[in-house]
C-alpha cells in the first residue's frame, strides 16, 4: 500500500470520467452528479476530522460557504479566473480555519463541536445581514468561471469534469495524509490523546493541522459551487447544512474516506429523487437515514463489507 491510488480507485475514477459519454447522462443528471460528487468530497474531508481524529465539527458549512462566497465575490466583479477564486477561497477559509481551530482545539468532545457551531453561526449571521454580500438573497446571477482566458466552464459537462478532477486530487491528498506519519498521530489522538502527549506529540498542533486541511478542502469545494449554480447564498452556511455533512459521513462509514464519498452522493441523490415525487420528501429521507443508522451502523461501506463477508461464508 505504497501508492495512495489503488487499482480499484483508479478504475472508479476512470469510470467517472467516462460517465458523460453514456447516452442517458442528460444535463440534469450531469448537474446532479456534480452535486453528488462535490458533497461526497466535502464529506470525505470532514471524515479526516470525525473518522480519523475523533473530532466532530458542527461548523463545516461555514468553510463551504466562505469558499463559495470567495468565488462569488470575484465572479460578481468580473474576475472569472477559477484559479483566483480557488486562491482567494484558500486564503479566506485558511484564516477563518486558523481562528476556529485555535479556539476549538483547546476543548474536547461536545465543547469542540459547540465551538465550531458557534463560529459558523456567527459567519452565517454576518453574511445573512450584510447588504454588500446581498443579505438573505446572497449573490445571484453570476457569470461562469474560466480556466484560462476564453476557456469557460459554462456547460454541465465541463462543471462535471471539474468536480471529478477535484475529487480525484482531494482523494489523493486525503489518502496520502491518513497513511502518513501525520495520519498515524491522528489515529493515536483519536484513540487516546493524553497518551499521545506523553509520547512527545503536541496534540493541539496536530488537531489544528488536520482542521485546517479539512477546512481548506471543504473551502475549495465551496469555491467550485457558484460555477455550477451561478449563486452563493447564506443558506449554504446554515447549521442544517453542517448537520447534513455529518449525516453524509455517518451513513457512508466513518474513517474510510470512500464511505463518506458514497454517503454524500447517496444523500444528494436520495434527496433529489424523493423530492421530485413528493413534497414531504424530508420525512422519507429521514426514515431512510434512521434505517441506515439502526441497521447498518458501520455505514454503507461497512454494509457492503458485511454483505461480501456473508456471501463468502455462503450465508448471505
Amino acid at each position: 500500500m505504497s501508492s495512495p491510488l489503488s487499482l480499484r480507485a483508479a478504475l472508479v475514477f476512470a469510470a467517472l470520467a467516462l460517465l458523460p459519454l453514456t447516452p442517458w447522462m442528460s444535463k440534469y443528471y450531469l448537474l446532479l452528479a456534480f452535486d453528488a460528487l462535490l458533497f461526497g468530497a466535502v464529506a470525505m474531508s470532514l471524515d479526516l476530522l470525525i473518522g480519523y481524529t475523533g473530532l466532530v465539527s458542527f461548523g463545516h458549512a461555514a468553510f463551504f460557504g466562505l469558499g463559495a462566497y470567495s468565488a462569488a465575490v470575484l465572479l460578481e466583479r468580473g474576475v472569472t479566473s477559477l484559479w483566483l477564486s480557488l486562491g482567494l477561497a484558500v486564503v479566506i477559509v485558511g484564516l477563518y480555519g486558523l481562528l476556529v481551530s485555535y479556539f476549538a482545539t483547546t476543548r474536547r468532545g461536545i465543547y469542540f463541536a459547540l465551538l465550531t457551531l458557534i463560529f459558523a453561526e456567527v459567519v452565517y449571521t454576518v453574511f445573512r445581514y450584510t447588504q454588500a454580500f446581498g443579505g438573505s438573497d446572497g449573490i445571484q446571477g453570476l457569470p461562469p468561471p474560466s480556466l484560462a482566458p476564453g476557456v469557460l466552464i459554462d456547460t454541465p459537462a465541463r462543471n462535471y469534469y471539474l468536480v471529478v478532477v477535484y475529487l480525484f486530487l482531494a482523494y489523493l491528498v486525503c489518502r496520502t495524509l491518513v497513511s502518513s506519519h501525520f495520519g498515524r498521530v491522528l489515529a493515536a489522538i483519536r484513540e487516546n490523546e493524553d497518551r499521545a502527549r506523553f509520547l512527545g506529540y503536541d496534540v493541539q498542533r496536530y488537531k489544528m493541522g488536520v482542521c485546517m486541511i479539512s477546512a481548506g478542502l471543504t473551502g475549495l469545494a465551496g469555491a467550485l459551487y457558484p460555477g455550477r449554480a451561478a449563486y452563493a447564498t447564506p443558506d449554504l452556511m446554515h447549521w442544517s447544512i453542517s448537520g447534513e455533512f455529518l449525516i453524509m459521513v455517518m451513513i457512508g462509514g466513518l474513517g474510510t474516506l470512500v464511505g463518506p464519498i458514497i454517503g454524500g452522493a447517496f444523500f444528494i441523490l436520495l434527496q433529489e429523487k424523493v423530492s421530485s415525487y413528493v413534497q414531504w420528501y424530508s420525512i422519507v429521507v429521514g426514515l431512510v437515514l434512521v434505517f441506515i443508522v439502526l441497521f447498518v451502523p458501520k455505514g454503507l461501506l461497512g454494509f457492503r463489507g458485511a454483505l461480501l463477508q456473508g456471501l463468502r461464508r455462503g450465508t448471505p
Binding site: H181, R184, E191, D202
Partner: protein, 253 residues
C-alpha cells in the same frame, strides 16, 4: 548529557490540591544508570510526584531539573521529547489500533519527520525498532492484534514498549507489575532490568510489590503522607523503623 552525573533532580517540591497537601517539600536525586524506587502506602503522593516530574501538574513550590535543565512548567510532550518517558499505573495504550501501530506511532515520534511538514506525506520506516521491542517483550506474534484484545499482562508490556519506543534516557514506571500474578511479576521484573541494562536506561519506579523493589533497586525512597521519610539502599529501608511504622502502623496497603 551529563555523564555519570545527576540525571534528575527534584528540589523541594510541594503540591497542594486545594486544602490537600499531596506533596510536602520532597527532594530526590537520580543519577544516570541508577534504578531508584519510590514506595509508600496508598495515598502517599507517589503518583502525584510522577505527575509533577512529567509535567502533567505544575508544583505549588519547588522545581524539577532533568539533565541540568529546569523542566518545571513544561508540557508533558515537551518533557518527553527531552528523553523522559513514563508508563502508567492503569494501562494507557491506544485500544482500537493494532499492537504494531501502537508502537509505531510511539517510535516515529523520534524520527526527523516528527513535527515537520514532510510528516504530512512521508511515513518513516521504524519497522526495525518496533519489531525489536515487540519481540523483546514477547509480543512479536501479536503484532496485528488490536491492542484492546490483549491480555492484561500483554497490555502491561505494550505499555512499556510505548515508553521505550520514544528512546528515553530516563524511564518512569508507575507500578509496572500492577495486576500481574507473582509468576508474571518475576518475569516482568527480570525483563525490565535486562532492558534497562541493555539500553543504559535510568529507571525511577513506583512499586507496591516489595519483592520487586528489593530485587531491582539500587536505592529506595519512602513517601508517607506526602513527605519523604526515608531514603537509602533496599536493606537499610527494609529495617528502617519509620518505614515499618508507616506500613504497619499507619494507612494500610
Amino acid at each position: 548529557m551529563s555523564r555519570n552525573g545527576v540525571l534528575l533532580q527534584v528540589e523541594g517540591v510541594s503540591k497542594s490540591f486545594g486544602a490537600l497537601a499531596a506533596l510536602t517539600d520532597v527532594s530526590l536525586t537520580v543519577s544516570a544508570g541508577e534504578v531508584v524506587s519510590v514506595i509508600g502506602p496508598n495515598g502517599a503522593g507517589k503518583s502525584t510526584l510522577f505527575n509533577v516530574i512529567t509535567g502533567l501538574h505544575g508544583p505549588t513550590r519547588g522545581r524539577v531539573l532533568f539533565d541540568g535543565q529546569v523542566i518545571t512548567g513544561r508540557a508533558p510532550e515537551a518533557v518527553n521529547r527531552l528523553g523522559l518517558a513514563k508508563t502508567f499505573q492503569i494501562t494507557n495504550v491506544f485500544p482500537g489500533i493494532s499492537v504494531y501501530e501502537n508502537v509505531r506511532v510511539a517510535a516515529q515520534s523520534r524520527t526527523p519527520e516528527a513535527g515537520r511538514f514532510t510528516s504530512l506525506w512521508r511515513r518513516p520506516d521504524v519497522d526495525t525498532t518496533v519489531m525489536e521491542l515487540l519481540v523483546a517483550f514477547g509480543l512479536g506474534g501479536r503484532r496485528d492484534e488490536t491492542a484492546q484484545n490483549l491480555s492484561h499482562g500483554e497490555q502491561r508490556y505494550l505499555e512499556i514498549c510505548l515508553a521505550l519506543a520514544t528512546n528515553p534516557t530516563l524511564l518512569l514506571l508507575d507500578e509496572p507489575t500492577a495486576g500481574m500474578t507473582p509468576g508474571e511479576t518475576k518475569d516482568a521484573t527480570a525483563l525490565i532490568r535486562r532492558m534497562a541494562l541493555a539500553r543504559g536506561l535510568t529507571l525511577l519506579l513506583i512499586e507496591h510489590d516489595m519483592s520487586v523493589v528489593m530485587g531491582i533497586s539500587d536505592r529506595v525512597a519512602v513517601l508517607h503522607f506526602g513527605q519523604k521519610i526515608a531514603e537509602g539502599p533496599p536493606e537499610a529501608i527494609r529495617n528502617n523503623p519509620a518505614v515499618i511504622e508507616a506500613y504497619l502502623g499507619g494507612a494500610d496497603d
